[in-house]
Amino acid sequence: MEEESTGMGVEDNSKPYIYPDIELDKREGEAIEAARKLYKQPIADSDSWLEEEISRNILLTTVDALINWSRRSSIWPVNSGLACCAFEMIATAASRFDISRFGMEIFRPSPRQADLLIACGTLTWKMAPTYKRIYEQMAEPKWVIAMGACAISGGLFRRSYSVVPGINLIIPVDVYIPGCPPRPEALLHGIQQLQEKIRHYSIAKKKEQ
């Protein structure tokens, strides 16, 4: 902080150290306002996997089967909880429901090591640029699960002043799990649906954004 304020040429010794520079808040606010203007339309989910029968040939099918098997058997999620749905995700990860049965028990604290972003809860506009960045930091191939009513559509905060009405305005979503919050069984079912979806991917076709 000390170096930064010197570098910017603004020295304000009247305020104690605990009050940071307003410039940080202004930069953050500009990013959020830009995001609010930019993200108006929902991002459509890629449906290229629906017509996989047309593009497949015998050689690719075998390679696809191997790659997709390995991908869907070890989907590592990002360790990120947005709101109260995160507790259901935590319960899913714990021994009673045991997400490791699906090869997913390794919750990665770094998005660069993860394949799956479980958007579990309400996304506020203040959080949106950060969340978009987390998604962009993940390496391809990557998938997103929208968990709960708030992540799907904004839920009961849809018309609020601070909530993103649907996480698909910010990032593309692969699987939607309704509920408020969804039970761990529902999350596990959604994960199985995602695995089913990955099973139909083909390396001949790139996943559309």
Partner: protein
Amino acid sequence: MALALPATEISAKLEAQFPGSVVESSGNTIVIKPESTLQIASFLKNTPDFDFDYVSFITAVDYNTYFELVYYLISLKHNHTLTLKTRCTDRENPSVPSVNSLWKGADYQEREVYDLMGIRFEGHPNLKRILLWEGFQGYPLRKDFKPQ
């Protein structure tokens, strides 16, 4: 359970100390004039009989014609409480004195009221938005706020 002090007795003392500062008092609530907030708060904090050393919360209510600031004071030593209120009739540019110099815990509470209700606290060392972002239009807890 903390004892809620009777407001009428305290308001009589306040009226003797600062004439014309109390608007009304009933039950456990004293309504004071905004310009005498700092004097009365300082008096309530520093008088040994009261010794209100802790402000539990500061919040604001929009009554359409005026804003009402609510201060909930607690004395940890005597284990008694008091609700202090002050009214702000100016809707365009509402402003009340900050009590941050008396209670450091008022810092974030006053910033929250400023952020969501748009009431300025004069003398606050760091009055800026705390929950919403810089550049947000309007004050969402006001009754006339319309979400976009």
